[in-house]
Symmetry: C2
Subunit: 426 residues, 2 copies
């Protein structure tokens, strides 16, 4: 039976879950995979964490050199997170001829090319299923299940924290602040929630996923990013009334005009399969030119779901050793020649407060028309003291045109305020 | 660049789609996969089909010997369907050292072991992603994405024809006969719809999927099967009123008691993610002990979606040639020792017509109690001429107990008829 030695760098939530799966299922992997997988080393400064997991002190390394010079270690699992020291450790592992499995989206989104180059040079593997959408095998699907397709679009709920917050705001009418507090209480959001609520986490993931989907390196700088901090319960309630659900989506589109990648709050019709993906669940919807629509749904985070993805990579790497780096070698090709669309086309949901008098609609609709923004639906919502809330849904138009129109509309004497401009996808 | 020669046996809908993808994307596969894939042979008696696809006559073979003796052919794609002559052709291809990719669920469900044995002996590959759920990469997910999990359950809408019919009955209130006729008109159902509506097609697929999920060969004889032909629009309407949607589900469960596999019409709550999978779409919901819930959704049939799965297998086979048969070698293990649960536990939806008089509930509920069938909900629906329809939803109980109770209830003088007994899952 083939023996596989692994080392785990970092015994946080995901590292602990990974250790648990690898040790508790040692016999299971022998019978189902024909592999004898052993944790040969863990690297963790906090010895209590190791002890709490029942790890023998003899395998706890105190520095990375110990791990990369251990000839029993074939595969190094990096679950430290963040750029440093993770990057140094991963590079040392690759340079020592170890295959690397990582859950580190930030590291990967920022330094993919450098890591890939080293892995290729050393002819070792570099796997990152766990970096995107936790236990959902979206990377394996893109790499090993969708090869026959040119992927036309990818749309995903790829951050569980924001999905929890938006679900709570939608189903319980909570404010953003209330929902965030509850998410923090439950451990779904960090004390400093910026990475999640401002869309950075989703941007890392979308950068990785759209690179694979479109066979072109999509850097995080190419991704338009907008978080959910300015979303109000009024926005969500008004959208609901018109049959739309608000989600923080990662959207990638690949057309003749180029590649378009963006992370922002988005209204989608309730009939869209992504609309019913609630709480901390994640989902990714793909359209391929052969397969049509595909959606994958599951847990985007957590010790065991993310551990499931890491262990899947370990087994995949151990079984397909010929194939170590070929999985991603095409994704960094043609970076310089890739065209990106910045002035994208979208539908919009606009909420504004206007004077309650005759002729208001004709005034703002005249401005929209001037900028070629066509109105699909306009709805007035009862107001007070001579002010009314108005919701407008536009047909697809260029973002730049919409912004110019909004500027002019804000100058109108009959308009008190443009309260929200939120993109909308079918 | 690695050259890969393929032959296609059969140019029906799926064969045509496969040919189209392989030829139109020849250059795309060179750049994205580093593979030069060429269709070296097609086997098709109807020369018009070949001509319609623009296939040069020089590559149209007239018998299987021509194909299997062609040294340029590495991979044989079988898309004929049915057991013979497909089985003979596939065996000849394997015996000649060709890897086989097939979409043939019936052949695979009935003769897996024999085919597997030959593939192992010859050290060639046998791939069957396209046999289940069309373009949805469910087999790749089970094999290459869920290795860290013991799969606890699999529940799927794995037949598009019946899902189309049930969706039409549900959304438009059609009768079974009307919905079937419409499905036939649109090409979703065959002139003889038995294989679909009686659940045979779903049984083949569930046999394959649960074998992989549970690492134990599940033969079609192990699958309990019940079709949708006796479902009425009244059943669907009554279920709807209580918040349930009716689907033909393939259900596999793996517990300490053994493996339980069944295909039958099933009510599920509207909140279940499978409830919104409509028309001819398919979806498979898995629960793994590490990953938790996962769902995959997409097109279960059609020329290009199924072609997408076949071409994915071709590319996977060409890239992972070390790995040809290991993908399924564990699935036929331990067949004799596998325990199957036949007297399964389920919730039930019961619709019956009873006398409109006092004390009816106490009479039938007494019988249910006697057989340890506990009632979760009972609802009377307005009737005429002294008769009323009653809907009962039970808590989980053993099928045998439920059947005995129903027998006794049918004998009650106050019961005119037990109209439907339909299983219900949460």
């Amino acid at each position: 039976m083939k023996k596989v030695g692994v080392a785990i760098l970092g015994l946080g939530v995901v590292g602990g879950g990974t250790y648990k799966i690898l040790t508790e299922k040692k016999e299971y992997f022998k019978t189902t995979q024909g592999l004898d997988v052993t944790v040969e080393n863990v690297l963790e400064k906090n010895i209590d964490r190791a002890t709490a997991l029942g790890i023998d002190k003899s395998i706890v390394a105190t520095n990375i050199e110990e791990v990369v010079s251990n000839s029993n270690v074939d595969i190094v699992i990096e679950v430290i997170g963040g750029v440093e020291p993770a990057k140094t450790f991963v590079m040392k592992a690759l340079m020592s001829g170890k295959t690397v499995v990582t859950s580190n989206k930030e590291l990967f989104a920022k330094h993919w090319s450098e890591l890939e180059e080293e892995a290729k040079k050393m002819r070792v593997g570099l796997f990152f299923e766990a970096s995107c959408v936790g236990g959902v095998p979206i990377i394996r699907t893109l790499q090993e299940g969708m090869q026959a397709n040119k992927i036309l679009s990818i749309k995903g709920i790829i951050n569980g924290t924001t999905n929890y917050i938006l679900t709570k705001m939608s189903l319980e009418g909570s404010s953003y602040e209330e929902a965030l507090k509850e998410a923090q209480r439950l451990g779904y959001a960090e004390f400093n929630p910026t990475a999640d609520v401002e869309g950075f986490d989703a941007t890392y993931k979308l950068s990785i996923l759209s690179s694979l989907a479109f066979n072109a390196k999509v850097d995080i700088e190419n991704v338009y990013r907008e978080g959910i901090t300015s979303i109000t319960k009024e926005d969500i309630a008004c959208g609901k009334e018109l049959g739309y659900t608000l989600k923080l989506l990662g959207i990638g589109k690949n057309s003749e005009n180029g590649i378009e990648v963006r992370v922002h709050p988005t209204f989608i019709p309730n009939s869209n399969p992504l609309a019913t993906v609630n709480d901390s669940f994640n989902a990714v919807h793909l359209v391929g030119d052969s397969v049509g629509e595909i959606m994958l749904y599951g847990r985007g985070a957590g010790a065991l779901p993310t551990g499931s993805a890491i262990v899947s990579d370990v087994i995949f790497a151990a079984k397909h050793h010929e194939y170590y780096y070929a999985a991603f070698e095409n994704s960094s090709k043609g970076n310089k020649s890739t065209k990106f669309v910045s002035d994208f086309v979208s539908q919009y949901f606009i909420r504004m407060t206007v004077k309650d008098e005759a002729g208001v609609l004709s005034k703002y609709s005249g401005i929209f028309a001037k900028y070629n923004v066509s109105i699909k639906e306009a709805k007035q919502i009862a107001g007070v003291e001579g002010k009314v809330s108005t919701i407008i849904i536009t047909h697809a138009c260029k973002e730049s045109a919409l912004r110019k129109a909004i500027e002019k509309i804000e100058e109108l004497e009959i308009v008190y305020s443009v309260d929200s401009v939120i993109r909308l996808e079918d």
